[in-house]
Symmetry: C2
Subunit: 304 residues, 2 copies
């Protein structure tokens, strides 16, 4: 397999979009925006960090696109186009690139993303993949992370923790949920939980200049979280494990009941706390009702 | 250094653009296109393939952006925004990421590109970097590679060959030259020479469904090409060495003299042949005037 083969093989397997003037194969792709801002996000996955050599290449391909779609969802945006770069490891399984492309293509079809460009190189290192996705705001979007105010309600989609057991390779980016939240009109700020609530909520609050109070008893703990011990409670896994790819959203306090009552998705939306006035002050209320310090943990890229 | 440090450090060193609504630091950047198509291109560089461990990280940073700007130039487009992903090798020199960012920032300032997003991860492998650049057509652009017709004049910017001696890390993408060519109005097709004329001209001709006749004696050979031997003539280096990042352009035959006479750039534009009618038939006329087969060579990614 070489770059030209891979592109030729992939092309008929990809969704077409009317807003693509020229797809992969030239020096650049040409796409047609339609007014309004565009959201742009880049992510990379490294073998040995984000996936293992024995992981299914198709799952890696799915994840490669899904992490960027999660960023677009967090921004209140619908995906439109993506480009990807694949740095192969010499000696990897011969069908790795095609299996990877299969998974990537499956995700692209599922969410209507046109893959309009790629770069393929073989090197000596672990496999590295990166992907850039471009999208446009949903009605009511975009949703930045710096608009939360004291008194806003904090909520998350889905359930948290234990993603490393396999879910992190096969997750569904919360695009439909983001669309509903944006349409509701009460989104003050939003982000996706990629490094765990313990690491991500401080970033969220810092961006908005608010504090927060989170109630451990309300945290939706994923069934993948292992049996809890007293020194290692399940809610800490839910906060620290990372790679949840769920939405964290600050909602204007009015009309929350209407949003919850009319929530149309199988993935739940759960209130976990509220924004507070004192900038940067984060409080975790434990299941016994005692307010305590915010736990450390979560993942900061480059610190490991 | 971690991801947040690097972004914070880089931000004040980057050019601002009025069409950036929200730069790096949120889940996505928000940019404002202004009607018309956008060109999108992605490239990656792998340590051990495109650069060596001992190469200056600032030069690698420059090259990372410059290769994508070369693609935009080849498309007849001005660059606007870029995002990049850096996969660091654990144990690399501590100042590598900042030196890299310095070189990247220098190239961004030189060509007015806003870096609006990044991803930074530390892994075990050779360093991998990828970059996606987005731009808008120059007046008279965009220039695809599939518009050449029989009788069109083939020309290249600059001089070819010997880039591996160091030029490949410090080259100037031919944006100003592309702008002039597009403004001239006679561009039928254009691409950049990244893998060598020997490999790239066949792709160019295939895209347009034409043949070509190239005159070896007219090829602009770069002074970096080593002393020629009879079995290893300089013009073959010029065709096969790769990483020239010069423009190959097919021009409508009328008004070529006017274009040449009015060419305002220190980088020359040289006529090297013409497009022919028989699709895919490529002829190289040697310095003695004998028409012969097209030489092989040049670089196909993934074939090595």
């Amino acid at each position: 397999v070489n770059e030209l083969d891979l592109i030729d093989w992939l092309r008929p397997r990809l969704p077409m979009r009317a807003d693509v003037e020229l797809g992969a194969g030239d020096d650049c792709a040409l796409v047609r925006p339609d007014g309004g801002p565009l959201a742009v996000t880049v992510d990379q996955l490294l073998e040995g960090v984000h996936f293992r050599p024995e992981d299914d290449p198709a799952a890696v391909g799915w994840k490669t696109l899904a992490v960027s779609l999660s960023d677009l969802a967090a921004m209140g945006c619908a995906p439109r186009w993506a480009v990807t770069a694949l740095g192969m490891r010499r000696g990897a399984a011969e069908d790795w690139p095609r299996r990877f492309a299969e998974g990537l293509g499956m995700c692209a079809r599922e969410y209507g993303v046109a893959l309009v460009g790629g770069d393929y190189t073989v090197g000596d290192g672990p496999i590295s993949v990166s992907l850039t996705a471009i999208g446009s705001p949903f009605n009511g979007g975009p949703a930045r992370r710096d608009g939360a105010r004291a008194g806003d309600v904090l909520a998350v989609t889905g359930a948290l923790g234990g993603s490393i057991r396999g879910r992190h390779l096969r997750f569904a980016p919360r695009l439909a949920e983001s669309r509903s939240l944006c349409a509701h009109g009460g989104v003050r700020a939003m982000m996706d939980l990629s490094d765990g609530l313990a690491a991500d909520l401080p970033r969220f609050c810092r961006a908005s200049g608010v504090g927060a109070r989170v109630h451990a008893a309300t945290l939706p703990v994923h069934p993948d979280v292992p049996q809890a011990g007293q020194a290692d409670p399940a809610y800490l896994h839910a906060m620290q494990d990372g790679e949840d790819f769920e939405l964290l959203v600050a909602l204007a306090p009015g009309r929350i009941d209407a949003l919850m009552a009319g929530w149309p998705h199988p993935t739940p939306l759960t209130v976990i706390g509220e924004c507070a006035g004192a900038a940067d002050e984060l409080v975790l209320v434990d299941p016994e009702g005692n307010a305590g310090d915010w736990p450390g943990g979560g993942y900061v890229h480059g610190d490991d």
